[in-house]
């Protein structure tokens, strides 16, 4: 008996299930998009006039600030997507249907593979919505087609990494509450990085953290691709962080998945 022969069929079956759930009950997409859009509105309209000057010089204003903040909020969307992955994974595990799948002669990895594909899709769609709102608010990117392709590639990589991490959180958490709390620091990471304001303005200790935490090089790379700012070695560091987070999330998720979760 070799379940690998069913790998593609089982993954497609699982994907169909996940997509149906996501389309019919888009509540998690609303949360994933809602948090970054809320921050976008808050920062651009409430603080934007003042912050624009801070990040882009005396003559700058709200318009420049949208351009500055958007990359950070797109990355925040990857974090809220991770939160969505964690909570729905946790719910699924306690519902018992995963235990049923495990008693069937299916290609077991299909459960996780389909999950990753559907959450990455969900996160990328959410990012597109956040970008759409930003465009309406006057975001004016300065990027070539190649830049855009590279940006989408980077975002797919970030989403992939944070989705694995989110699934790992969902599998590791004993309760839904824990599952929804674990990814929360990720959502706040863009604040203590270069997401909202430049790191130059921060006190020394915080600045050191802000410049070396994973989201800063990722945000800087995205900003470089979309706005034409200097990327430097941020690109390589960003990719390294994504790969590292993916490996940790993947191994942790595999461990959690093997564990018997039924009560």
């Amino acid at each position: 008996m070799n379940t690998a022969s069913h790998a593609v069929a089982d993954t497609l079956t699982m994907l169909r299930r996940n997509f149906k759930n996501q389309l019919r009950y888009p509540t998690s997409v609303i949360a994933i998009v809602g948090i970054p859009v809320l921050f976008l509105l808050l920062f651009v309209y409430v603080f934007g006039g003042a912050l624009g000057t801070a990040v882009a010089g005396a003559a700058a204003g709200r318009q420049e600030y949208v351009n500055y903040i958007l990359p950070g909020l797109i990355i925040m969307t990857a974090a809220t997507g991770s939160l969505g992955a964690a909570t729905s994974t946790s719910v699924d595990m306690t519902e018992g249907i995963i235990a049923r799948f495990k008693t069937m002669a299916i290609f077991r990895p299909s459960i996780l593979i389909a999950r990753v594909i559907s959450y990455v899709t969900q996160t990328l769609a959410s990012m597109a919505l956040v970008l759409g709102v930003a465009l309406l608010m006057g975001f004016s990117p300065d990027a070539s087609l190649v830049d855009w392709i590279a940006a989408v590639g980077l975002l797919a990589l970030v989403s992939f990494a944070l989705t694995w991490l989110g699934i790992a959180f969902g599998l590791a958490a004993k309760t839904l509450d824990t599952a929804s709390n674990l990814p929360f620091p990720l959502i706040l990471l863009p604040f203590v990085g270069s997401g909202i304001v430049t790191t130059d303005s921060m006190p020394a200790g915080l600045r050191q953290f802000a410049e070396n935490q994973p989201f800063t090089p990722i945000i800087e790379t995205l900003r470089g691709l979309l706005m034409g700012s200097h990327i430097g070695h941020s690109g390589m560091v960003a990719i390294a962080w994504c790969v590292g987070i993916t490996v940790v999330g993947f191994l942790w998720a595999i461990k959690g998945f093997a564990r018997d979760r039924t009560r």
């Binding site: 008996m1 519902e95 008693t103 069937m104 009560r263």
Partner: protein, 319 residues
């Protein structure tokens, strides 16, 4: 009873499982012939669910050999998975999908041919009387309807061996009888059923063989009649006028008995013959006895005789 003429559907030897310091299964041996109903009976926490989890490949045992439908658990769990269906204590349905979509999901994961799968789902919707709700999301279903769907999903792949972990816990009497009928129909088709229950009546109604699990050990095994024979005549129940009279009786009679201080009652295992009753009464001050009744044997008495405590007490202990 000869049980070795038909081949074994499930064969288990020396099964052990511990969680930390707690020994949940302490050396279980089972041999369940094809096409029979086997009931694993025991109070909550006896290890029933753990046994089902191991046999259905969800958990690995610490020691012991398991063969199901000719497949070895350690070497070929996927072989076992193609032969079994499992309905656990907690519903394993996708509440966001409709009932029909849940069934179709099972058909696809059982790798049934598309046309056969569709037909199978339609038949099950009909058999389980799910026609009216099949197009609605499961989240709108009542608990009983979810359980029905759960059982129907287990049957999509036409498994030859079905594990039912407390299938009727929490069901109303009508739904319970429906479930029993489904089980009888399956057995008529030659399916082997491994059932766990804390309802003695359920085991008595359905099972060809019953094993009683207590603290991780099988303390008795046989058909319902065999087990009842181990407690000949059931028991004599007495109630007394005063607590002092109850104390006196306990002191005078000695031996194994169940005492209920609140009701001033005493339950004495007995074969129920006139001589035995007279033997008890002769030793007591009959004026202090308020009532006497004879209890005909049922599986509750098996618990009483085997564990020294009635099963109902254990059931009350759960949460």
């Amino acid at each position: 009873m000869t049980i070795n003429q038909t081949p074994s559907a499930i064969k288990v030897t020396g099964l052990r499982k511990s969680y930390g310091d707690k020994v949940v299964l302490d050396g279980i041996d089972l041999d369940i012939p094809e096409g029979s109903v086997f009931a694993l009976l025991g109070p909550n926490g006896a290890g029933k669910t753990t046994a089902v989890k191991i046999l259905s490949t969800l958990t690995t045992p610490d020691a012991g050999a398991v063969t199901i439908n000719g497949h070895d658990l350690a070497r070929n769990p996927d072989g076992i998975r193609t032969s079994i269906g499992v309905t656990g204590q907690f519903s394993a349905v996708d509440i966001l999908l409709t009932g029909a979509e849940n069934l179709r999901l099972m058909a696809d994961l059982s790798h049934l041919d598309r046309r056969i799968g569709r037909q199978r789902c339609a038949d099950l919707i009909e058999q389980f009387d799910l026609g009216e709700v099949a197009g609605k999301p499961v989240i709108t279903y009542s608990g009983g309807t979810r359980r029905k769907l759960d059982l129907a999903m287990t049957l999509v792949g036409a498994p030859r061996i079905i594990f039912l972990d407390e299938p009727t816990t929490g069901l109303d009497p009508r739904a319970r009888r429906t479930t029993w009928q489904v089980i009888r129909d399956l057995v008529a088709d030659g399916v082997t059923i491994f059932l766990t229950t804390q309802y003695l009546e359920e085991a008595d109604q359905l099972a060809d063989r019953i094993a009683v699990l207590d603290n991780g050990r099988l303390i008795a095994e046989g058909n319902p009649e065999d087990l009842k024979r181990r407690v000949p005549g059931g028991s004599i129940s007495l109630t007394f006028a005063t607590a002092a009279a109850l104390d006196d009786a306990v002191r005078t009679l000695g031996g194994q008995m169940i005492r209920n201080d609140e009701a001033l009652g005493l339950q004495i295992p007995s074969d129920g013959s006139a001589r035995a009753v007279q033997g008890v009464l002769d030793r007591l001050e009959t004026g202090s006895i308020r009532s006497l009744s004879l209890h005909t044997p049922d599986l509750d008495d098996v618990f009483l005789a085997l564990t020294g405590q009635p099963s109902t007490n254990d059931q009350k202990d759960q949460k």
